[in-house]
C-alpha cells in the first residue's frame, strides 16, 4: 500500500512469499512470543483489571448483570473494531467508521424507511443500515484502491462527509424508532444473553473464520505485509483493498443498526470518535498498525479491556479524565510491548 509499509515490512517477508508463507518465519522465531503469548498478555491485563474491580467494588462488580452490562457496552464498538481489524491488517486505516455508523443509524430510522418497515418487515431497516455501510465503505475502497488517494485522507473525507449527510438527512433531529418489532427484536435475550452481545459474538466468530481460515484472510495478511509481493504472487491487490474497506463499512452498518437497537433512536451524533476507540482496541489487541498481522481474538480482548476499565472506573466513582489517562497509558504500553516482540522476531530470522 503506502511506501512506508513496503519499506518496513520488506525486510521480514521474503519476496516470493505466497500468502500462507508470510507468517511462519515470524511465528517460528518468536516462539512463545507468538499470537498465543500476546493474547495471554491481554488476558492477564483483563484479569488484572477485573481483580481491581472485584477488590474495589466487590459484589457490585462480580455480578452476572454487571458482566452483561460490560458486554453490551462492548458490542457496538466491538463490531466496528472487527471491521477495522481487517482494514488495518491489510495495511490501511479507516477513520470514517464512527460517522458511517451515525449515517447508517440515521438512514435506517428515517420516516420513509420506518414506514416501509412497518408495512413490510423490520428487516428493511437492517438491510438499509447495512447497505448504507457497505456503500460508504465501497466509496472509500474505490477512492483508495483505484483513485490512489491515501487511506488516511480518503476516509477522513468520508468521516466529515458522512456526518454531514447524516445531519442533513436527520435535519439535526433525533429520529425515534416506532417499529415495535424492531425494538422487541433487540430487547430479546436468548439464553439470557442480550441480542447485542449475540450479534457481537456472531460477527467476531465470522471475522475470526474469515481472517484465519479462508483465502480472503490469507490474502489480507499478504496485502498488508507486502503489497508488491502480494501482487507478484497473483493477488489482485486493488480489488482486495476495495473489499477490505467495504467490509469495514459493512461492520459500521451493523454497528449502526445495533446502536439503533440499543438507543431506539437514530441521531447524527451517534458514534462520535468511535473510529479512535476502534483503532485503539485493534492496536492494543496486537494487530500491527503497519499491516501484515491481525488478530480477531486480540481485538475482542482489546475492546473488553477498555470497556471493563470504563466499568471499573464508574463503579468507583472515578472521573473519566483519570480513565482517559489510563487508556492512554495502556495504548502506549501495548505498542511498546509489540515493538519489543517485533524486534525479537526480527532478530531471530
Amino acid at each position: 500500500m503506502s511506501e512506508s509499509n513496503l519499506a518496513s515490512s520488506a525486510a521480514d517477508v521474503p519476496a516470493d512469499a505466497a500468502p500462507p508463507a508470510v507468517r511462519p518465519p515470524r511465528a517460528r522465531a518468536s516462539g512463545l512470543h507468538g499470537a498465543a503469548a500476546r493474547n495471554l498478555g491481554l488476558v492477564i491485563a483483563l484479569v488484572a483489571i477485573c481483580v481491581v474491580g472485584i477488590v474495589t467494588a466487590g459484589d457490585r462488580f462480580w455480578d452476572l448483570s454487571n458482566a452483561l452490562t460490560i458486554l453490551r457496552l462492548a458490542s457496538v464498538i466491538g463490531v466496528l473494531s472487527i471491521g477495522m481489524t481487517f482494514v488495518i491488517t491489510g495495511g490501511g486505516i479507516d477513520l470514517s467508521v464512527g460517522s458511517v455508523l451515525g449515517l447508517a443509524s440515521v438512514w435506517a430510522s428515517t420516516l420513509a424507511t420506518q414506514t416501509m418497515a412497518r408495512d413490510s418487515h423490520w428487516v428493511v431497516m437492517a438491510v438499509c443500515a447495512i447497505a448504507v455501510g457497505i456503500g460508504a465503505g465501497l466509496v472509500n475502497g474505490v477512492l483508495i484502491a483505484y483513485g490512489k488517494v491515501v487511506a488516511f485522507i480518503a476516509t477522513l473525507a468520508m468521516m466529515v462527509a458522512a456526518r454531514g449527510l447524516a445531519e442533513m438527512i436527520a435535519n439535526r433531529q433525533t429520529q425515534v424508532v416506532r417499529v415495535p418489532e424492531f425494538i422487541s427484536f433487540f430487547r430479546m435475550s436468548p439464553l439470557g444473553v442480550p441480542m447485542l452481545v449475540w450479534i457481537f459474538a456472531v460477527v467476531a466468530v465470522a471475522g475470526w473464520v474469515l481472517l484465519n481460515r479462508t483465502t480472503f484472510g490469507r490474502r489480507t495478511v499478504a496485502v498488508g505485509g507486502n503489497a508488491e509481493a502480494a501482487r507478484l504472487a497473483g493477488i489482485k491487490v486493488q480489488r482486495h483493498t476495495m473489499y477490505l474497506y467495504a467490509l469495514a463499512g459493512l461492520a459500521a452498518g451493523v454497528a449502526g443498526l445495533m446502536m439503533l437497537g440499543r438507543t431506539t433512536a437514530g441521531s447524527s451524533t451517534n458514534g462520535q470518535l468511535y473510529e479512535l476507540d476502534a483503532i485503539a482496541a485493534v492496536v492494543v489487541g496486537g494487530t500491527l498498525l503497519s499491516g501484515g498481522r491481525g488478530t480477531i481474538v486480540g481485538t475482542v480482548l482489546g475492546v473488553l479491556i477498555f470497556t471493563t476499565l470504563t466499568n471499573v472506573f464508574t463503579q468507583n466513582n472515578l472521573s473519566i479524565s483519570a480513565q482517559s489517562i489510563a487508556k492512554g497509558a495502556i495504548i502506549v504500553g501495548a505498542v511498546l510491548l509489540q515493538q519489543r516482540f517485533a524486534d525479537r522476531s526480527r532478530a531471530g530470522t
Binding site: 454487571n66 453490551r72 431506539t264 441521531s267 451524533t269 470504563t310 472515578l318 473519566i320
Partner: protein, 351 residues
C-alpha cells in the same frame, strides 16, 4: 467531737451532689451535642420538615461531559447539594457525550440497586429505553433538562424553559427596538440538532413577531468558545449592519464577544443566554455590547437531586398543598439587566 462527723457528712453529700451533677451534666449534654452537629452538617436546613435527616438515599447521577461551563456547573451544583444532606449517598458517573456509554452507566446503577437516578441525558430519546428499565426495576428516575420521549420513563422531570428563554430574549429586544420597524436582529444558536435549540429559536421568533420584527441572520454554534467565535465571525461578515444579537449560550458567548471585538463592531447590543458569571459581571460593568442575558438555571440537576431525595423518602414539596412531588417542574427564564443583576449573580455559573 460532733463537728467532725458533720463535716464528713457535708463532704460526702457534696461529693455525691457533685458526682450526680457531673453525671447529669454528661447525660444531658449528649443530645445537645448531636443536635449541634446535626445542624452543622445541614446548614441549609433551618426550618426542619423536608430537610430533616431521613433514611439514607442512594442516588446515581449521570450527565453529559462537562465540556462547557453550564454543563460543568450542572454536575458541580448537584454534588454541592448532595453534600449538604448527610442522608444522600451520591454516585456520580462522569459525564459523557456517548449515549452508548451513558446507557451502560444507567445499567450499572440498576445493577447496583440505587434508590434513585437523576439523569440529564445527552439525547433524551436514546436514553428513554434504559430509563424505562430503571423505572421497572423500582428505581425513581428524575429526568433533568432534556426530556425522554416517553412519559413513563421518569417519575419527575425538571426542565428549564427553552421556549420561554426565546420569548424573554425576544421581548427584551422588542422593548429596546420597538420604534424601529426594519431593525436587523441576528441570532447565534447553540447545537441545532437539540430540540432545546429549536424551542429557543421558536420562542425568539414568536416574541419578535409580536412587535413586527424577524430574525435577519441566523447561525448555529456548539456551546463552546471556539464554536461561538467561528459562528460569530462569519455572522458579522455576512451582516455589516446589525441592531441586536441574541446569543443562546453564554459559554459560546465568550467566543462571540471575542469575534465582536476583533471585528471592532459596537453598533448593536447583545443579549446572552443561560446566565454565566462573567456575562453578568459584564452586564453590571456595562462596558461591552452585552446589555442583558436570559437565565437557564444551571442548578436544575441540583433540584433533581433534592426531588429524588424527597421521592425516595416519601415526602412531598412542603410549599404545595399536593401530597406528592409533582410530575414536572419547569423553571422560569427571567431577563437579567443592569438593574436586577445583583439578585442573580449568586447562582450564576463560571464559564
Amino acid at each position: 467531737m460532733s463537728a467532725r462527723p458533720r463535716r464528713r457528712w457535708v463532704a460526702a453529700a457534696g461529693a455525691v451532689a457533685a458526682a450526680s451533677l457531673l453525671v447529669a451534666g454528661c447525660t444531658s449534654n449528649e443530645p445537645q451535642e448531636t443536635e449541634e452537629t446535626a445542624t452543622q452538617e445541614a446548614p441549609q436546613a433551618p426550618s426542619g420538615g423536608n430537610d430533616e435527616q431521613g433514611d439514607e438515599v442512594v442516588i446515581g447521577f449521570s450527565a453529559p461531559a462537562s465540556d462547557h461551563g453550564w454543563m460543568g456547573s450542572i454536575t458541580k451544583s448537584a454534588q454541592d447539594v448532595a453534600a449538604e444532606y448527610p442522608d444522600i449517598d451520591l454516585r456520580v458517573a462522569e459525564g459523557t457525550n456517548d449515549v452508548n456509554l451513558q446507557i451502560s452507566q444507567i445499567e450499572q446503577f440498576i445493577n447496583d440497586g440505587v434508590d434513585a437516578i437523576v439523569l440529564l441525558p445527552f439525547d433524551g430519546a436514546a436514553l428513554t429505553e434504559v430509563a424505562i428499565k430503571a423505572m421497572q426495576a423500582g428505581i425513581v428516575v428524575v429526568n433533568v433538562d432534556r426530556e425522554f420521549d416517553d412519559p413513563t420513563a421518569a417519575r419527575t422531570t425538571v426542565l428549564g424553559d427553552n421556549y420561554g428563554m426565546g420569548i424573554s430574549a425576544g421581548r427584551f429586544i422588542c422593548d429596546q427596538l420597538g420604534g424601529t420597524p426594519d431593525a436587523k436582529v441576528a441570532e447565534i444558536a447553540g447545537i441545532d440538532s437539540l430540540p432545546l435549540t429549536q424551542d429557543r429559536s421558536k420562542g425568539f421568533a414568536d416574541a419578535l413577531g409580536e412587535c413586527g420584527l424577524k430574525v435577519s441572520n441566523r447561525v448555529a454554534a456548539d456551546f463552546t468558545v471556539q464554536g461561538g467565535e467561528a459562528a460569530a465571525a462569519n455572522l458579522l461578515q455576512a451582516a455589516p449592519e446589525l441592531d441586536a444579537i441574541w446569543n443562546h449560550d453564554d459559554d459560546q458567548g465568550v467566543g462571540v464577544l471575542a469575534a465582536i471585538e476583533a471585528a471592532n463592531r459596537d453598533e448593536f447590543f447583545m443579549v446572552g443566554g443561560a446566565g454565566s458569571k462573567n456575562v453578568m459581571e459584564a452586564i453590571k460593568a456595562d462596558d461591552t455590547v452585552l446589555k442583558a442575558t436570559v437565565i437557564y438555571p444551571s442548578t436544575q440537576a441540583a433540584d433533581g437531586i433534592k426531588l429524588a431525595r424527597l421521592l425516595v423518602q416519601g415526602k412531598s414539596m412542603s410549599d404545595l398543598v399536593e401530597v406528592e412531588v409533582p410530575r414536572t417542574v419547569q423553571l422560569y427564564a427571567p431577563v437579567v439587566t443592569k438593574e436586577n443583576v445583583d439578585q442573580y449573580l449568586p447562582t450564576a455559573f463560571e464559564s
